[in-house]
Amino acid sequence: MKILVFIKKNPLFSLGTVMFFLLVFIALFGKYLPGIDTRLDEIIFLRDENNIPFAPPFGPNERFPIGTDRLGRDLLSLIVLGARETLIVIIAIALIRYLLAIPLGFFAHKNRFGVNILLNWINGFLSYIPTIIIVILLATLHPIVLSKIRPLYLILIIAALEVGRVAEMIKLELNQLSTKEFITGGNAVGISNFRLLKKYYMPFLYGKLLVNFVGDIGKVMFLLGQLGFLGIFISHSFMQTDAGVSGFENTSLSWPTLLTDAFRDLRGAIWIPFYASLAMTYVIFTFNILSQGIQKLLK
């Protein structure tokens, strides 16, 4: 009974939680679900009613509920198996961003190490130039492209680019908090800055940070989707495709990779980009609902 009352009081939070756990369930146990082809067999051809073979991609039919990709792999299995990697990457990016932003925001609030000026410049720069253009320019640099730990670099780049926005938000919150009396009290007792941040400021920030963090996960998914259309993924390898010509070879299963050929697929196999971006939309939706729900819950 208590649970029902809670759900009725916090419908958004409950819906968001259910959607989130569904996502986590698929990410963890998706490969054990019936109808999921873990080996991702490449079906080379199918036969139509006149027994004439035709090549993939196959549209949605009885055998493949949402069709196959260009190699003849079941799209549903691809999406389910790619969920884990996709989720880990977007959550990692958002997490690193917030871990970096908290100290930066604090130093900016205290006006130390010129962090304030740095933040102003980063934010000013990115309020003129689309983030995605900068990500493209940095992600195609050779030391990063060829590095063994390229995924880590890319996660760091994407996390760091928007760190200024988050740090600015934290700074404003801290500025507001610092006028409160208990902070003056803490200062008067003479505690260290670290303890001041940890014990005096942070307890009041956790709620707001959580709401923004969850919302940001959705935004990261959006950016990764956009990058997917341009053929930039978190993990792939750089290969020679022809004499003197090299390109990116895709080695991961994460969702943005399904969008690489989108501008070609849109004209024929539109189900590939459609269902891949539908999956991303589901993630963005889930985290948006959850962030709104948490906000209402904390009020």
Binding site: L137, G225, T281
Partner: protein, 300 residues
């Protein structure tokens, strides 16, 4: 005001220079042919190379007296003109539609916030703002393709040859900034509720619509500050949507030239975007100055 604009201009120049430096970071590879089918590729990334690239870049502008020509021998400025015209067909209507309708919807949302109309509107806008624009575009294409395939509709879905080609991409980039403007307007109006001047106005028997006008005038500075964000959002999404719809505008070719390492061409296609951003900043400052001749922020 003049000093303010000059400062914005200096910031703009610094940002352009900063962008050029990022653009010129070395990203070429050196391929050595060892005879037969044996190649080795080298990827130098040194400061000397960077310096050399910057010098080459300046030299290029000095010798060509401008951007010069692209690989096909067409002057870059000439191709830019064609592409930019197509871009303007999307950017200008998208920007003004997003701001104008966003504000109108925001006012409606605020006015009916306690009635069911407002609640439904809030819910719908929230759902639509959670849909990424590329999914919206692909979904729309899916429906249109089905319609065209079944013969209910006859139109070209891709490219830029028809008079209506710009409409689909424009809708895709307008939705999100419009909903953002709507939410921002209604929130800033809601923040005004309960202020003393409203009670005074109400006690004098002013009609609700006129009170709304009073409130709106107090919100101008914060609402107009969002114009830059609207423009930035449109410009960020435009290249991707143009690529998806094969609409050959400046955004399409900007991405193309970045991936092909054509620095001069990339800069030529990026500069108009930066100028649009700068123009938006200046425009919103001027409008703010004209509407609210007090220093912004002094109101609170």
């Amino acid at each position: 005001m003049g000093w303010d604009l000059l400062k914005s201009f200096l910031v703009f120049l610094l940002i352009v220079v900063g962008f050029i430096f990022i653009l010129l970071l070395p990203r070429e590879m050196e391929i050595t042919h060892h005879g037969g089918l044996v190649f080795t590729a080298d990827f130098p990334f040194t400061f000397d190379l960077f310096k050399e690239k910057v010098q080459d870049f300046i030299h290029h502008f000095q010798t060509e007296k401008g951007f010069g020509e692209n690989k096909m021998g067409v002057p870059i400025l000439e191709e830019l003109q064609t592409f930019l015209q197509r871009d303007l067909h999307i950017i200008i209507p998208a920007f003004f539609l997003a701001i104008f309708f966003g504000m109108i919807l925001g006012i409606i949302q605020f006015y009916f916030r306690e009635k069911w109309v407002g609640r439904i509107q809030a819910f719908l806008s929230w759902i639509f703002s959670s849909i990424p624009d590329f999914f919206f575009y692909i979904g729309l294409q899916y429906i249109l393709i089905k319609l065209v395939a079944n013969g209910y509709l006859q139109m070209n879905l891709f490219g830029n040859d028809d008079w209506y080609s710009f409409i689909l991409p424009m809708i895709a980039v307008t939705i999100f900034p419009m909903l953002f403007m709507m939410k921002f307007t209604s929130t800033s109006l809601e923040n005004e509720v309960g202020q003393d001047y409203l009670r005074t106005a109400r006690s004098k028997g002013l009609q609700r619509l006129f009170i709304l006008k009073h409130m709106l005038w107090n919100c101008w500075p914060s609402i107009l500050n969002q114009a830059q964000f609207v423009m930035l959002y449109i410009l960020s999404s435009l290249p991707i949507i143009e690529k998806l719809s094969s609409y050959q505008g400046a955004g399409y070719h900007l991405l193309d030239s970045i991936f092909k390492n054509e620095d001069v061409r990339s800069l030529a296609f990026m500069l108009p975007y930066l100028v649009f951003m700068f123009a938006t900043v200046v425009l919103s400052k001027l409008v703010k100055h004209w509407l609210v001749p007090i220093k912004s922020g002094a109101l609170r």
